[in-house]
Symmetry: C2
Subunit: 217 residues, 2 copies
């Protein structure tokens, strides 16, 4: 079975470019998206591994799975930009609702989570998931082992499984973590990790689920 | 320095009795509280290690640190019961806002967290913290090693540090995780852990913070 093609919206950012780079090295065809296609093309060329660059809308149209990696403040505008191009596709929201300057405080939106906002922005007909909230982007961007689980949320098990496979493919452990509403837990956890990084001088704390997990089919 | 005396409100429940038992074995003087003093006395006698039992109000009055381990549905009534007896004390809320029957879904209260509800119930003049959300009670009740970090929340660092010390004393790792508002992350995580237990056949999944944490003074 051939690998799905992947679009990374916000693909010039720290998280998006690192996920794209790791997926490209794992053999996936990657289109990085950015507000300006030229910036995405420059980034794609710099990172290599056959990646291409395009506008966010073009990238969304090209990808079979669409990963959205933009700051919380850009989330609404970004989803408006890609909405016409993602019908029927798996969309992976990675947004963490950090509200500067108090990024070490949990500040979930009234809607419950950034994932809920993403789902509302796209409406029905999209296979909405969320993931990649807790991994440090600067670690992902290096060719190193990372001890961090990727909690994957979504109301549809098969869509979650495809995102779990992406996490596994880039050397992390994807873990099914339930319905999209549960994304709040991982999104909130990021503020704690920033606090812990500062308090305990950690270079990119992450989280791991402990206990013996029996792989699911 | 002598160890603080500890009250466990809801001390006949699975989580409360297990925390009490582990703390008693670590040398702390423990008073288990329950709605009915007699039930608490019976439990204390059964668990041994010099524990005593009392009504929740009496236990709260006796403890220098007051740990509250009751179901979400009993939280409001319990705090009303102990409020007259906890002024100036460290109170450790362990409440997880699970709303049956959908306990695998994150359902945080409109106030943001159970810890926020506890703080509102007690008002000013209490050193409010929260912790022990993610550890499996049935594991705590056994004399076994447990791989689970205890995230400790509170607006006052010194109060948090005393709760971190309690977690360390019972063989877990206490971790400062920031302001009380951040409790939402650990409370929400419990629903995920229940989902993961079911999905991956885990006997009590927990969480661990990854990365190298430098101990703080």
């Amino acid at each position: 079975m051939s690998l799905p093609t992947i679009a990374i919206i916000g693909g010039t950012g720290n998280l998006g470019s690192a996920i794209g780079w790791r997926l490209a090295r794992a053999g996936y065809a990657i289109t990085l998206g950015s507000r300006l296609a030229e910036n995405a093309q420059t980034k794609a060329t710099a990172l290599g591994h056959g990646m291409t660059g395009a506008s966010n809308a073009e990238a969304a149209a090209a990808g079979e799975i669409v990963i959205v990696a933009v700051p919380f403040s850009a989330q609404t505008a970004t989803y408006a930009e890609i909405k016409p191009h993602v019908a029927g596709k798996i969309v992976v929201d990675t947004t963490v609702p950090l509200v500067p300057p108090k990024v070490m405080r949990v500040q979930l939106p009234p809607e419950g989570s950034a994932a809920a906002l993403a789902a509302a922005a796209l409406g029905d007909g999209v296979r909405m998931t969320s993931a990649f909230h807790n991994v440090a982007a600067h670690k992902l961007a290096q060719d190193i082992a990372i001890d961090c689980d990727i909690l994957v949320f979504g109301d549809e098990k098969d869509a979650r499984a495809e995102v779990v496979a992406l996490a596994d493919a880039i050397g992390l452990r994807g873990v099914h973590a339930g319905a999209l509403v549960n994304s709040a837990a991982a999104e909130a956890m990021t503020s704690l990790l920033i606090f812990i990084n500062k308090t305990y001088q950690v270079d990119g704390a992450g989280i791991a689920i402990t206990g013996k997990l029996v792989p699911i089919s």
